[in-house]
């Protein structure tokens, strides 16, 4: 295998003290984020864009070791580098050439040397190897298998991180926030694995460069595309088909990637049932290396989901449905200044929109109700990254975003009562932040990442701002064992109103107002990290998170924010979302264990979470605290990926979780209105009583998924893959939702749950060309 290809640009700089450059994948030219660079006893990591800047020692006999998970490490003698070059491109070769490597030995970054704690990194290749529902590879479902990350219910791709809600996750794709990350009612995520390069989730100890959400940061970067040759991947699965094409625009200087997916269930469903559920998404990226110090990138994502139902009876017609989708775009410029300062500047656009409609014709009279909600962002961001010396790395930056919210726009027409209404309410706000963070090696055993973020949010009537101190601390007990601690304070200026029902995509983003203050959190974490000699790693962490000003719908609130008043449709009107919500607080604490086996034919991990999550709202549950819906006492994930032979991979995952805390009807009784006749009771309703909020604990959840992948190398370096999978291999009846019903033939009422997915086999064909 190729070891390394070193490209020097000796025209830049004088005699070197600082060495800078990029770490890339050989041939494709993809930059590698988080690659480890060891110079003597000092360790550095490449930044999010594969850039590094290291301080070189005086001695030429010192070695520089460059490594990254999944790539063969490279060792460079400092003395072998030209004296008058300070810019270097290092290319690493993947060790996962499927048809030539059976036993994989990788040099791994040592987890006990990284000051950042509470971090999960996963590669697209790991995601490709893992079994998943209907063969649809999914980033978010892979992340659900790590401790501290929980899913809400069967099949859902949603993430609940350390007791935080869905809206508390900052999910960014090439720096653009993605507001709704789900396809098909949450069963799949919008991220197409074939188009991705780096996936990093941070659950706590957030560096100051991240902000705007309380609970997690999921930073996903798209691939740049191969700079070497045109190639692609095509796949056919049970749910969707996908196609990815990438290649050079100008060899070794510029490349593109385009990737798309589409479902086809609607093509069969519409003629048969009149119902349709479908999605598509496309990712695209193009980049140009203007010169070694200047690169520009443009990346975009667009996706849309639709669900609709049509019915016809004589001249009467009904058509109802939902549409929702995201579009993002990022234009990025990377510049390296002569003194090794790395500048990343971006222009960012993001748009999420949701629509629900109900149209009908009855007796030749039209009825039409359409309800829209959207959020549009446009922002600029600029950050620098430079070395102040071999023990001191500094990052600083600024960002400004304009948010345009349209929480409830409505169009209503009813010819029966001769009523037409149009309502649109737009809210313009601005969010800004400035940050500075410093990676400092105080001595060989003690490292710090200290940072400060100042964030601000301006609406028409109100201005909020706050300082957010961040601190991560590492103390090495020995070369393979360290203690870590972190503290992070966060502010969140936008809220998500999300329906707590069975999962309709009823996401409604709203800004802070005078009445609804910013969400705030503080999180403390403490843990140990241990690297074993064979490359395996163990982390154990405990955390406590406190959240203020979180919001929830009031009891009985209607997401559509429509009031029908006391009369007929004439009174239909939007109501303020602020009147529908209540403000409270939450807190979560727990412990997480993660053991990762990173080398050998069998790789994988075991994760365990023990946690408690509580909420308290004055106007819910009579003001008493209650378990959050996503409170889960125990959560276990076991993931194993076994390279059986050079052309066969067997993988399995087993998950176990305590049941969710649910709000279900525990009692039923007849409730009567006042009877004006004087005696007895008037009209009677059947009443469901839910008891204490979320007081019912659902059944435990466990499931085994298995998949087998068969690779075959074809002509012209083509590789075809057949993947056979079994979801829920032992057919566990896991709960999806609960309901009460009378049992057949008796006068008793019982509690039931519906299961969604029994054992489900899947098959997928993929061709790399």
């Amino acid at each position: 295998m190729i070891g390394a290809l070193l490209l020097f640009n000796s025209s830049i700089g004088q005699q070197r003290k600082i060495l800078q450059g990029y770490v890339k994948e050989v041939k494709s030219g993809e930059t590698l984020q988080g690659a480890s660079i060891s110079v003597g006893s000092e360790n550095y990591l490449t930044n999010n864009y594969g850039f590094f800047s290291v301080k070189l020692p005086e001695s030429d006999s010192v070695k520089m070791l460059v490594s990254h998970a999944g790539y063969s490490p490279v060792e460079i003698m400092i003395g072998s580098l030209p004296k008058f070059s300070n810019f270097l491109t290092i290319e690493l070769s993947p060790t996962e050439d499927l048809l030539s490597e059976v036993t994989i030995k990788k040099k791994q970054n040592k987890i006990s040397h990284e000051v950042q704690m509470s971090k999960v990194q996963i590669t697209p290749q790991q995601i490709r190897d893992m079994p998943v529902l209907l063969g649809e590879k999914d980033v978010l479902k892979a992340l659900q298998l790590f401790p501290g990350v929980q899913k809400p219910r069967e099949g859902s791709a949603a993430l609940y991180v350390r007791g935080g809600g869905q809206d508390q996750n900052l999910i960014i794709l090439d720096e653009a926030p993605v507001y709704n990350v789900y396809h098909l009612f949450g069963f799949f995520s919008v991220f197409n694995n074939d188009a991705l390069s780096n996936i990093e989730l941070i659950k706590g100890g957030f560096p100051a460069r991240y902000g705007g959400r309380l609970s997690s940061v999921l930073d996903i970067q798209m691939r740049d595309g191969s700079k070497d040759e045109v190639k692609g991947t095509a796949g056919i699965g049970l749910v969707s088909s996908n196609l990815t094409i990438e290649g050079p625009v100008k060899k070794e200087k510029s490349s593109f990637i385009f990737s798309g997916r589409r479902t086809y269930a609607d093509l069969f469903l519409v003629p048969l049932t009149g119902q349709s559920a479908s999605f598509y998404d496309v990712n695209g990226k193009i980049n140009f290396e203007l010169n070694p110090r200047n690169k520009i990138f443009y990346s975009m994502y667009a996706g849309r989901d639709g669900f609709s139902r049509k019915e016809k009876s004589g001249t009467d017609k009904d058509h109802q449905g939902f549409n929702w989708g995201n579009q993002t775009a990022t234009f990025r410029w990377n510049h390296i200044f002569k003194r090794g300062i790395f500048l990343n500047s971006s222009l960012i656009y993001s748009n999420y929109h949701f629509k629900v409609f109900d149209a009908s014709i009855r007796n030749n009279k039209k009825y039409f109700l359409q309800y829209n909600s959207s959020i549009k962002d446009i922002g600029v961001k600029s950050a620098i990254d430079f070395s102040l010396g071999k023990n001191n790395q500094l990052k600083a930056g600024l960002l400004v975003t304009r948010h345009l919210f349209a929480p409830n726009a409505m169009v209503f027409t009813d010819e029966q009562i001769d009523s037409v209404k149009k309502e649109k309410n737009q809210i313009e706000t601005f969010e800004g932040a400035a940050f500075i963070e410093n990676d400092i090696n105080l001595n060989t055993n003690l490292k710090l990442n200290a940072g400060l973020r100042y964030s601000a949010f301006s609406t028409k009537d109100k201005f909020y701002s706050g300082f957010e101190p961040r601190l991560s601390w590492l103390y090495k007990l020995n070369n393979n064992l360290s203690i870590k601690a972190s503290f992070a304070s966060m502010n969140q200026y936008i809220h998500l109103l999300s329906n707590s029902g069975i999962g309709l995509p009823t996401d409604l983003w709203v800004p802070v107002t005078e009445k609804t203050k910013p969400q705030q959190s503080t999180q403390y974490a403490l843990g140990i990290a241990k690297d074993f000699k064979n490359g395996n790693a163990l982390t154990i962490e405990g955390y406590f998170k406190n959240m203020k000003n979180i919001i929830a719908y009031k009891n009985g609130a209607d997401f559509l924010l429509l009031s029908t008043g006391s009369g007929s449709g004439q009174d239909l009107r939007p109501v303020s979302w602020e009147n529908n919500i209540t403000v409270g607080k939450g807190w979560s604490y727990g412990a997480e264990l993660l053991f990762q086996k990173k080398q050998g034919r069998l790789t994988g991990w075991i994760g365990y979470t023990l946690s408690w999550t509580f909420n308290q709202f004055d106007s819910l549950n009579n003001g008493k605290s209650f378990y959050a819906r996503y409170d889960r006492r125990h959560d276990i994930s076991i993931v194993g990926i076994l390279k059986i032979k050079e052309n066969k991979t067997l993988s399995a995952t087993w998950v176990f979780g305590t049941g969710n805390a649910l709000n279900i009807p525990l009692y039923e009784y007849a409730g009567s209105l006042y009877n004006p006749s004087g005696t007895g009771l008037a009209y009677t309703f059947v009443v469901n009583d839910f008891g204490e909020r979320n007081s019912f604990r659902g059944a435990v959840y466990h499931r085994l998924d298995i998949s087998m992948q068969f690779y075959k190398k074809k002509r012209k370096n083509r590789v075809r893959t057949w993947e056979l999978g079994l979801y829920n291999a032992y057919n566990k009846a896991n709960p999806f939702y609960y309901y009460t019903n009378r049992s057949v033939g008796s006068d008793t009422r019982k509690l039931y749950y519906t299961t969604l997915f029994p054992i489900i086999p899947s098959i997928k064909y993929q061709l790399k060309f």
């Binding site: 049970l238 329906n499 707590s500 029902g501 309709l504 009823t506 719908y553 009031k554 009891n555 009985g556 609130a557 209607d558 997401f559 008043g565 006391s566 009369g567 525990l666 009692y667 039923e668 009784y669 007849a670 409730g671 009567s672 209105l673 006042y674 009877n675 004006p676 006749s677 004087g678 005696t679 007895g680 009771l681 008037a682 009209y683 009677t684 309703f685 059947v686 009443v687 469901n688 009583d689 839910f690 008891g691 056979l724 009846a733 999806f736 009378r742 049992s743 006068d747 009422r749 509690l751 039931y752 749950y753 519906t754 299961t755 997915f757 029994p758 054992i759 086999p761 899947s762 098959i763």
Partner: protein, 273 residues
């Protein structure tokens, strides 16, 4: 490879999607509770309290269920401000009753309700009768267009007060008890003068069509306590939103300690439009 492939294809096309499973509650079964309902008013001639049991997830309730399964052996006592206790007696198909002569219901007075059953269940509640009723002189009824009226009146006092509108249509026959057809509407208001837009289709139709055939119609504006307002609001809204997928669950209000239901008070103003 081929047999495995065929087996998988058969599995794919034969696998159903959803199943339902009964949840065995085991020792999580909840105890039964008392269901108590009573509304008191200075203008009513009787005081009625109904007492029933409801059991967790074990018994079907029918929406027309009114007076079956009434508990007939409970000790039901209403006591007033002066700690004087008024026991009520059970009447089949009605509940526990007493005439208002026996239990004087007075404005601005607090009443306590206690229910004990022989098998040890005990529930209690209290309510306060609103101090004033609406002054009929402040009521303005203005017809906007056919069958649609604006109705307004002055708030009884400063502060938050709750009102209920009752449209009562009574069919009167010689030597027969009156038969009632009524509708009920409720509003929660602040300390501003009321201006409520209501649709009174039933009243309009009833007065025009049926008065000549022995019907009488009236309109009550009731000044209620919070218990009346909140129980009625949550009861009807839960029923209305039962199948609305966009709606959050709504618990029905209760002020019965150790039970369900309501013990509420109202003070009526009766109008004859």
């Amino acid at each position: 490879m081929k047999p495995l492939f065929y087996c998988l294809m058969i599995l794919i096309f034969s696998t159903g999607c959803s199943r339902e499973k009964e949840v065995l509650l085991g020792n999580r079964t909840l105890p039964k509770k008392l269901l108590i309902q009573s509304y008191i008013s200075p203008q009513d001639s009787v005081v009625t309290v109904t007492v029933r049991f409801t059991e967790a997830l074990t018994r079907i309730i029918h929406s027309n269920e009114g007076y079956t399964d009434l508990v007939d052996n409970a000790v039901v006592i209403i006591s007033g401000n002066g700690n004087q206790q008024y026991p009520l007696t059970f009447k089949k198909y009605v509940g526990y009753i007493s005439s208002s002569n026996s239990i004087p219901i007075m404005p601005d007075s607090t009443y306590f309700l206690s229910v004990r059953t022989p098998d040890g269940y005990h529930a209690e509640s209290f309510c306060r009768v609103p101090v004033k009723n609406v002054d009929p002189a402040t009521v303005v009824i203005k017809e906007l267009k056919d069958k649609l009226f604006d109705l307004s009146w002055n708030n009884v006092d400063t502060g938050i007060h709750y009102y209920c509108l009752i449209n009562n249509v009574v069919y009167v026959e010689v030597n027969q008890p009156p038969r009632y057809d009524n509708s009920i509407t409720w509003y929660g208001i602040s300390n501003h003068n009321l201006s409520v837009r209501i649709s009174m289709h039933n009243l309009q139709l009833s007065t025009k069509k049926y008065l000549s055939r022995g019907y009488e119609a009236d309109l009550w504006i009731c000044h209620t306590d919070f218990n009346f307002y909140e129980f009625t609001r949550t009861l009807t809204q839960q029923d209305r939103d039962n199948n609305n997928p966009f709606s959050e669950p709504l618990p029905v209000y209760t002020n019965i300690k150790n039970g369900f239901g309501v013990f509420a008070a109202l003070n009526k103003t009766i109008l004859y439009p």
